[in-house]
């Protein structure tokens, strides 16, 4: 079990910077994120894109901004639970919330800061009838253990790096592997594309381009997938496993079940301190909404800064908070006990 002062849900830029501002008040933070690395959208969607509206940086790559934030908050030694989804949140005492992740990690804190951005990044599921029925019975959205696919017939769908990489990786493990993609060109790294083309030429994989999966067949378990080829029409491919790899997309997810006032997939907050309707729970960054809301990283930084002041008063109602500038004592002046 992990205990902290502020449990931050979402390790995007806003959640990360909040660690810094909380640290100045000697509040410890722990962050939970479903993605395996910190940075949220910046890492997952646009790490190589320049951002031009971070004060003091005429231009900074999204990935660099995340690296800088990690360096900036390092003195405050935040805890991280990455690759796990914040699942259930319960009030378990006076000023105590208990969060359990989908992998069973338990974290307790008096204050929750939801910095969930656009929500939980989840695999994009193709709109095929019966898809959910075959989940765990032949349909997988990620490859956890390649051995599962040894000597099996596999159909992978998608045209990006993960589709290409897993096709290459599983080619030597699976009995037969087919890759279906809607275009004849791929967007993945060039050497992966070359490798897949070589495997196809050598007859080691079945490459089905200009085609899309349109139907799943089977009673209990998945038995075959029907694909629609641009010229050849419908083709039935017998499979043990179908692995659609179409990237990740954010969904609001379990946050919707936590008793918070939600308007259009965003959490309503009071702009005085970004508190929600539940005392002790705050929402900052892209996940919140209020009159005049702008989804900007710099606004999220401001919201996190204001929020930790309120969180301090909530945790320690009797203590007086004296505001200090980092320019006076440096960050060391705040980290030293």
């Amino acid at each position: 079990m992990i205990k902290t002062d502020i449990l931050i849900i979402g390790a995007g830029p806003c959640g990360l910077f909040t660690v810094f501002e909380a640290g100045l008040l000697k509040l410890n933070c722990h962050l939970v994120d479903v993605l395996p690395a910190p940075g949220g959208q910046l890492t997952e969607i646009y790490p190589k894109k320049p951002i031009y509206d971070i004060p003091g940086y005429p231009s900074v790559l999204a990935g660099e901004l995340v690296d800088n934030l990690m360096e900036q908050i390092a003195p405050f030694k935040p805890g991280f639970t990455l690759g796990e989804k914040a699942d259930s949140l319960k009030k378990t005492g006076d000023k105590e919330f208990t969060l359990t992740t989908d992998k069973g990690t338990v974290i307790k804190a008096p204050v929750i800061a939801i910095a969930g951005g656009l929500g939980v990044f989840t695999p994009r599921k193709p709109p095929l009838e019966g898809l959910e029925k075959f989940e765990d019975n032949g349909v997988d959205y990620m490859v956890k253990d390649p051995e599962k696919y040894r000597d099996k017939n596999i159909l992978i769908a998608g045209g990006g790096d993960s589709a290409l990489d897993w096709t290459i990786e599983l080619a030597s493990v699976a009995k037969k592997i087919s890759l279906v993609h809607r275009r004849s060109s791929f967007r993945g790294a060039l050497d992966s594309v070359d490798k897949v083309m070589e495997l196809a030429k050598a007859g080691k994989i079945d490459l089905l381009t200009e085609a899309q999966a349109v139907q799943l067949n089977g009673s209990e378990n998945l038995e075959s997938v029907t694909i629609k080829h641009k010229e050849k029409g419908a083709i039935d491919i017998p499979v043990d496993f179908f692995i659609p790899l179409f990237g990740l997309t954010p969904k609001l997810g379990p946050i919707a079940e936590w008793g918070l006032n939600i308007e259009r997939s965003a959490v309503e907050v009071n702009t005085e301190d970004y508190s929600t309707n539940v005392p002790g729970i705050y929402a900052i960054g892209d996940i919140n909404t209020y009159k005049g809301k702008l989804k900007l990283i710099l606004c999220g930084f401001h919201e996190g800064t204001m929020m930790v002041q309120s969180a301090f008063k909530y945790i320690y109602p009797d203590q007086k908070l004296s505001f200090k500038y980092t320019t006076v004592t440096g960050v060391e002046g705040f980290t030293n006990e």
């Binding site: 969607i45 646009y46 709109p127 967007r187 899309q212 179409f246």
Partner: protein
């Protein structure tokens, strides 16, 4: 001041919407759809980095060909047809008056 253009949009329930859009504000179609509260996510903000503003272009207006980035993202969309586009990559300009689009299913 330049003229506004008119755009026809069929939403996912089959309802028709007539939108008016200014051509002098450097808007893209995704932004216009969102401004009219049509159910388009535009998650990435218009960088052709998600596929949440996928639409079909029904009219035969002369549009720029999709960039590689846009094609790459369409690979992650579903129900992709030959007339599929990411609406964030369609710049609103005078020659698009009368544009007719349909929102793709999600």
């Amino acid at each position: 001041m330049s003229e506004n253009i008119h755009i026809k949009v069929k939403d996912r329930e089959g309802n028709l919407h007539e939108l008016e859009a200014p051509t002098d504000m450097n808007l893209n179609l995704m932004e216009v759809l969102k401004a009219h509260e049509l159910p388009v996510e535009g998650t990435c903000g218009g960088m052709a980095l998600c596929a949440s503003c996928h639409c079909y272009v029904i009219s035969d207006h002369d549009l720029n060909d999709p960039s590689d980035d846009e094609e790459d993202m369409l690979d992650q969309a579903f129900f992709v047809e030959d007339n599929s586009r990411l609406s964030c990559q369609i710049k609103i300009k005078e020659s698009l008056d009368g544009l007719d689009v349909e929102l793709a299913p999600v």
